[in-house]
Symmetry: C2
Subunit: 333 residues, 2 copies
């Protein structure tokens, strides 16, 4: 039996990936930029052995226990495994165990950390020697685009690219460059009604999608520069614009997709109030109702404390900027 284990961070997008030009190859319509998160991660062990009779996938979700999964969830994981097995020339069945330390399917990029960890663990179990760039490309093929950014730590850009071979993530600056943090105010852990996968497909029905794409080259440039110069105010303003822009596209799809709910707007108001009081903090939401509050590390605890006091916030996750994917000898089984 051969095993590989990897731990991959979740990441929060400053410029969101939304809409693809190719579903099979997961080629995005726009470049995206994110920050990798230290405390939110997925750990995955992949093993293969001739004695395994079938492929098995076990997932331990947040505060849950390991459960064997079936159906579409298993299908997505095994699809990626089959692709990698083929490349590595492996014929055995596999066992995959994966643990998430935060709630999944609620817009906190659990598929990003999940598919990055899966791909890294599998390539290790299969004895593949690959570069980070190649890992990023292989991760992309798993179907969760945002996962490619979890390969790297710090600030990461996923280049849109022009073909399957040159759409991958690069590090803009390491996690040591700038002490930022993300306080996630969870207002709902209900699984979202419209998955990100479906959301990506719906974008073509929004009359505002092309206008969004047109604004992005400028936004990417502003954010790259803000990261380089550690200009928090300029970064923050642009992050908020991008978050609203994603939800604008979602809300104007046919049918309309509301990832935001009433509590999301309540948290946004709280963030705006904090800013008025002199605490620099900016909001962003992925394709879900929960609000990520981007701040400087020195304000993280204070903001987390404030969020915990809000009666409609059920859970607060705070994380510094963190490393990219890493391998581990501490296998899950």
């Amino acid at each position: 039996m051969k095993k590989g284990t990897a731990v991959a961070p979740s990441n929060i997008a400053f410029v969101k990936y939304w809409g693809k030009r190719n579903n099979t190859l997961t080629l995005p319509n726009n470049g995206s930029i994110s920050m990798s998160l230290d405390s939110l991660w997925t750990k995955t062990t992949v093993a293969h052995a001739p004695e395994y009779k079938e492929d098995e996938v076990w997932i331990k979700s947040f505060r849950g226990k390991f459960e064997k999964v079936d159906g579409s969830k298993k299908h997505r994981v095994i699809n990626q495994i089959v692709r990698l097995k083929k490349m590595a020339g492996i014929k055995n069945h596999v066992k995959v165990m994966s643990e998430n330390n935060f709630p999944s399917d609620v817009g906190i990029a659990s598929s990003a950390s999940g598919f990055c960890a899966l791909t890294a663990a599998a390539t290790q179990a299969f004895g593949m020697k690959i570069s980070e760039k190649k890992l990023s490309i292989l991760t992309r093929l798993g179907g969760s685009g945002s996962a490619v950014r979890s390969v790297f730590g710090g600030f990461v850009e996923w280049k849109k690219g022009s073909s399957a071979g040159n759409s991958y993530a690069v590090q803009l600056a390491p996690e040591t460059h700038w002490d930022l943090a993300d306080v996630v105010a969870i207002v709902s852990t209900k699984e979202k009604k419209v998955s990100s996968l479906e959301g990506h497909d719906l974008v073509k029905t929004s009359p505002y999608y092309q206008a969004r794409l047109k604004t992005l080259p400028h936004r990417l440039a502003v954010i790259r520069k803000a990261i380089q110069k550690k200009d928090f105010s300029s970064l923050g303003k642009e992050i908020e614009k991008d978050a609203i822009s994603l939800h604008v596209v979602a809300m104007t799809c046919d049918p309309a997709v509301f990832y935001l709910n009433g509590r999301t707007l309540d948290v946004i108001e709280e963030v705006l109030d904090m800013r008025k009081e002199g605490i620099p903090a900016f909001y962003t939401m992925d394709a879900g109702p929960n609000v990520h509050i981007i701040c400087e590390k020195k304000n993280m605890e204070r903001i987390a404390k404030r969020m915990k006091k809000l009666p409609y916030v059920s859970l607060v996750l705070a994380s510094s900027i963190g490393r990219g994917v890493r391998y581990s000898d501490q296998h899950l089984f």
Copy 2:
């Protein structure tokens, strides 16, 4: 002393007026369609007399008493009066008294009924004989564009026009054509932070505004046809799209304008739930947080009752479709 009194309905826009090509002449960037509301109105008396020493404006707001107003509020009223006096050759000072039977400045078109009633009352006091078309044009010059639609009852379209002389309202169908109603769920009576006037000016900063304008000729056509055929489902879907589109533009202005708040989204969810339960009802919001629920008259009471039960809804106003502006002998003073 000569007096004129008029009662004008508020109206709810199915396609919103948002953004102008000329501020002085109040020429809109797009045509709009609305329904006039029976139970939400402004009553205004205008008098002029040689013995008046100065212009006076008295306003009785919702649940309040008559108060003499000053500053910009008075200024807007007197501006319109001065314009009409000039046309009528009147030199006297005026006294204006106006009563609103619903909350103002919270996105329920109080300036629509207000400026329509003011213009009609003044033209009567000044002895001007004018057509409804002319009244609509004069009302427009008062600066509240939506007011031009309150001249007519039933379903009304304000044609964008190509010049100052041909941008006015026309009736698409009278109030007897189709028994619709509007249930307004008030979630906030706080005066909005950004007025509609400012909102109109900000649209040029939204990267999505041009995309909104491009969708409108089709939307206007769909809504005209839905009214003609009394196709409630088709009308409702398009109304919702237009409401979201207005707020999409507002939220993506620089600075971003949030007319919506958490409670707005809660009411929207309730409307979507009602639909799932088989009660046909569609939401729309003007430039404010309050939600207008458009329904067939037969469902009005039922929907109003349900809205009253929501703890975050402070007031419910229900109105059938109604008449346009009318003159009255029952002067306010």
